[in-house]
Amino acid sequence: MEKVIYKLKSNTALTDSVFKMVLEGDTKSITASGQFVNILIDGLYLRRPISVCDYDENSLTLIYKVVGKGTEKLSKMTHGRLDILTGLGNGYNLSKSGNKPLLIGGGAGVPPLYNLCKKLINEGKKVTVILGFNKKEAVFFENEFRSLGAEVYVATADGSYGTKGFVTDIMKDLTYSYFYTCGPEMMLKAIDKIAKTSGQLSFEERMGCGFGACMGCSCKTKYGNKRICKDGPVLEREEIIW
């Protein structure tokens, strides 16, 4: 973990409620895909956690959905600086992926899979991605994943784009060596029900600190109590108690 003052480079709408923010600043404490950052927003007390979507040495990309006061304020920013705690959480462990990993993202859970996909493809893995959204207008990053070289499927709940239904409707017919996922808890649960292999799932919880000090985000696992912010947000399928 480290506190870094980032400079806003761009902040663009991907859909009517999802924004992509590119920040300039030191990223050396980010060590794994699936980690997150905690952003101090003017006028708000607690920081807001957002996953690392992508990063290189001096730039950080975040994708966030406007759901309340904090994300609303972020979406209005056109320039300026942000006080951010970076490199939080454990992130995904790539070593278990096998040769044909499956990545499944739902809505605002899609972003952290992007850097993961990039890294897996760089390692020569054959990556399949399933993205789930509510409707056609909510779809984002389909082409970005395809440009990385992944095979991409999209599901929409209302059938206005791609396969009608949920990510699991696509997942059930695929073969894969391992899975990685992030999205609403309902989706994670549904995936756990039908998954044919081991995998890693990324969870959300309301956070006080985001770095392990307050016990605000605890959950019980088969390996003992864990803090989503420090021992997670990524948990292994085998340890999860639903």
């Binding site: 973990m1 101090l40 007390y45 000090a213 016990m215 605000g216 985000c217």
Partner: protein, 305 residues
């Protein structure tokens, strides 16, 4: 050179700044960010006799200028703290720490303190009496003078280390409870704990916290905490550790003028992990600005005249 040293019941600390229980874990996460040996000391997470998971999540809720928590005393239990956390802490924190203890019966408080008392690492006990009393229909120990006195006596009987009782602000007259603790032999008092509060999620139309209510703390409660410290200072002769919404060196000075001998910093550590360090670094400058040579001299200064 200004003098930031203060003395808590014979224990001299380098400066009055102490991270508050529940907002600093066992210090490890912060020791990775800065050398926490600059702290006066710190108060570690509330410890109970047995391990506790705490309340269901969500346990945290954001507010204007503060937060509500309903963590519910998650901790690994007194034996684990004695055998694992305290020896581990010794690797990154060389000073003595404050052991924050909670319980659900008078016997449990005493037993927990008895276990932890074996550690040389502990400089002072801070007894949190805000938990519900299982023998008394769940009414918090801290809301009844006779309960507060009973806990104080029981704990004093099992340790020679200074015992500070941490008072709840959720009472009609805090001075009555403060006096009861003093009469029962408390070496000092620590205040305030969080204030009961709640929020409702407008989308779900239900309380945000799974526990419905929780403890409100952070910058917003500073004036209230200051008033409590001011009142308690007048009511008792024993030293007071002041806390509630402290975020700057100026806040520390203000708390001390109200009557605090030392000051704890809570929620601010969670939003700014460097908060305690920044306060300590700013303290000498703030002292010069307000023409203070020694912090010891200003304790309760606002009461004179």
């Amino acid at each position: 050179m200004v003098d930031t040293k203060v003395v808590l019941s014979g224990w001299e600390i380098d400066n009055p700044v102490i991270p508050a229980s529940g907002t600093f874990g066992y210090g490890k996460e912060f020791s990775e960010l800065y050398d926490i040996n600059i702290l006066g000391s710190f108060s570690f997470k509330g410890t109970t006799l047995e391990e506790r998971f705490g309340n269901p999540t969500p346990r945290i809720c954001d507010c204007a200028s503060g937060m509500i928590n309903s963590v519910g005393l998650q901790n690994p239990g007194a034996k684990h703290v004695l055998e694992k956390e305290l020896p581990e802490m010794d690797k990154y924190f060389k000073k003595k720490v404050i052991a924050n203890v909670s319980g659900f019966s008078v016997e449990e408080y005493a037993e927990t303190v008895e276990i932890l008392d074996a550690s040389e690492k502990i400089g002072l006990f801070e007894i949190n009496i805000s938990c519900p009393n299982v023998h008394n229909g769940g009414m918090a120990f801290g809301t009844k003078p006779e309960n507060a006195a009973a806990v104080t006596k029981a704990v004093k009987a099992v340790t020679k280390k200074p015992v500070y009782i941490k008072l709840s602000p959720n009472v009609t007259d805090i001075t009555e409870i403060a006096r009861a603790c003093e009469d029962a032999g408390a070496d000092g008092l620590s205040l305030i704990n969080t204030m009961l509060g709640m929020r409702i999620d407008l989308n779900k139309k239900k309380p945000v916290l799974a526990n419905k209510t929780g403890g409100f703390s952070g910058r917003a409660i500073f004036p209230i905490a200051l008033r409590f410290v001011y009142q308690v200072y007048e009511a008792v002769k024993i030293p007071v550790i002041g806390m509630g919404g402290v975020a700057t060196a100026e806040d520390v000075i203000e708390m001390m003028l109200a009557g605090a001998t030392a000051v704890e910093v809570g929620a601010e550590n969670l939003v700014n992990p460097y908060a305690s360090k920044e306060i300590i670094e700013a303290l000498p400058l703030a002292m010069e600005k307000y023409k203070i040579n020694s912090l010891k001299d200003i304790i309760g200064g606002a009461h004179n005249g």
